[in-house]
């Protein structure tokens, strides 16, 4: 990254989601001596450096050579080790794309790839460093499991699950400044099982990653406290689809049938990621509902602070709220609330 940008290397080094990931890796690394970690000159930025500091002999900095890093991880898996790789999501999915597909997925090796700074989280770091294609790419590889934790807690859950997982697994995390999506760490987590964060009957927002928190806030914006509990306002279900593949088909079909409206929200091109995956499930099942995908509308994203980009692409609280209103054919309640 060039100088003069609002992000500095110091900022990138302060990722809380990343810190959780680094700490959890150390936790499982203490239990399992076959765990090894690799990066390509991004030990500090990705926070895999936490593991590097505690287990230097099990840590491999492969230099700025992502293709070699992925294939070498395949070799380590073949030698009976359990490699974890961290690099920026754009490089994991695109610079070393074929190595991920041919050396990890085709032989079905136990390797976990962590793509950090995914989606728009690199902000004004530049469009080259945005990763708005990684879910589509990774999802198209047979044998690959694709995950998107909603926050730091879920990041830890996925790392824990990865330790027992067979086959390649991709996890994308953001910059980590987002507030947690969960109020408590006490919830059941299982790869491939969506989590209903909030019940509702009027529409369902299916989100992943940082969009889960935004979706929750948008859904809360519709809610109005009344004495009899009947506000007449729509009540919105929020589903956290933390595993994009294998996707939880039952949760999608049930939501479509019970609420009649689905909005998907992701920090990704609307083609090929969460929205595409949900649409595929609905079409395959022959279930019809009102449907809208929110995300990057098949363009190269502009630069700016991540918050401004989330607003720009309508994947923040306000954008999601407005989209729900449009789909349900209702006026915003925001003005009413302002009058109170």
């Amino acid at each position: 990254m060039a100088g003069g940008l609002s992000y500095t290397i110091e900022d990138l080094n302060d990722l809380t989601q990343g810190q959780v990931f680094g700490k959890t890796l150390c936790d499982i690394g203490r239990e399992d001596p076959t765990i090894v970690c690799l990066t390509a000159d991004l030990a500090k930025s990705t926070k895999i450096g936490t593991f590097f500091n505690e287990f230097p002999e099990r840590s491999f900095n492969m230099g700025i050579a992502e293709q070699n890093m992925i294939s070498a991880a395949a070799g380590m898996a073949l030698a009976g080790l359990k490699p974890y790789i961290a690099t920026f999501a754009c490089f994991a999915s695109m610079r070393a794309c074929e190595q991920v597909r041919t050396d990890l997925c085709y032989p079905n090796l136990n390797v976990t790839v962590i793509g950090t700074h995914s989606g728009l989280s690199m902000g004004n770091g530049g469009t080259t460093h945005h990763a708005t294609e990684d879910l589509a790419i990774m999802r198209s590889f047979a044998n690959m499991t694709v995950t998107v934790p909603a926050d730091g807690i879920e990041t830890a859950r996925i790392i824990e699950a990865s330790a027992k997982h067979k086959g390649p697994l991709y996890m994308r995390i953001g910059r980590g400044f987002e507030p947690p999506a969960y109020d408590s760490t006490d919830y059941d987590f299982e790869l491939g099982k969506a989590i209903t964060m909030r019940e509702g009957a009027s529409a369902t927002i299916i989100a992943c990653g940082m969009c889960v928190r935004e979706a929750m806030e948008a859904a809360e914006d519709f809610a109005e406290e009344t004495e009899d509990g009947k506000s007449g306002r729509p009540d919105i279900r929020v589903v956290n689809m933390h595993t994009i593949k294998p996707i939880d088909k039952d949760a999608i079909i049930k939501s479509a049938q019970e609420t009649g409206t689905i909005i998907t929200v992701e920090e990704h091109n609307i083609i090929g990621g969460l929205g595409g995956a949900v649409a595929e499930v609905l079409m395959d099942a022959g279930v019809h509902c009102k449907f809208k995908r929110l995300g990057i509308p098949d363009c190269f994203s502009v630069i700016g602070y991540p918050e401004d980009l989330y607003y720009h692409y309508k994947i923040d609280r306000e954008g999601i709220y407005g989209t729900v209103c449009e789909l349900l054919g209702i006026e915003s309640f925001a003005d009413d609330d302002d009058d109170e």
Binding site: V36, G63, A65, S71, L78, A79, Q99, D103
Partner: protein
Amino acid sequence: MLHNYQSRDELVAFLKQKSIEVRKKIIQLVVTAGGGHVGGGLSMTEILLTMYWHILDIDPKNPKKPDRDRLILSKGHGGIGICPVLADVGYYEESLMNDFNQYMSPFGMHPDMNKVPGIDMSTGSLGHGLSVCVGLANGARLKNEKWRTFCILGDGECNEGSVWEAAMSAAHYKLGNVTAIIDRNRLMIDGPTAEIMSIEPLEDKWKAFGFDTKVINGHDYNELLDTFENLPGPDSDKPVCVICNTTKGRGVSFMENEVKWHYGGLDEESEKQAVSDIEKLSL
């Protein structure tokens, strides 16, 4: 080593006889498959027979033996060249290849490690194998195990940038348990390596990347045996690169050094000619 012998001469005579049998099998597989990467299959026959019969610490009855030596065929299009050798040393019955490259066959142009016993890594896309060896070798070191990793690369394959990423890291991690073997047959699909994309000075390049290098005749068993019997120990701190000068299409008069025989099929007459040429290879 899988073969008992009394003298070097006896070993060489044994391997020479094997070269004829394996080359004839390659021709037969080309016919079965309706076509194949015959040129580059025939150029590495002596290299593979030396490795599998004599150099590698392997057990064909226990293909996944954890402390076995590994050989990654990074030039994965050599499936038709390696599969007969694996059958020859006893990984599987030769008859299993009767449907080579046919519908649903486990045996294809590019070998699949989950389908073919003895194949240590699925390959086919060029420029991956040496990186996999770097991972394997680092794994062996971490576990304090003494097995070695060998990687057979094509010379045209050395155009791939990832080969040099791998070379740089093998030297950086001081992986003396890695040996790169280049099948230097001087031809690629579109023409001579010197015309399509120059790779010389090849030995200097590997040296500059931190490898101990040696250039030998890849069809001469004495040179192959002298080189691979005398590799530095797996604990040494420099990876090795052996450049094997070979002839693409070796043993078949109309294929030798012919660009068009990178991949091809055979009619009855050319098959007969090929077999007859191979049988005349000097013993």
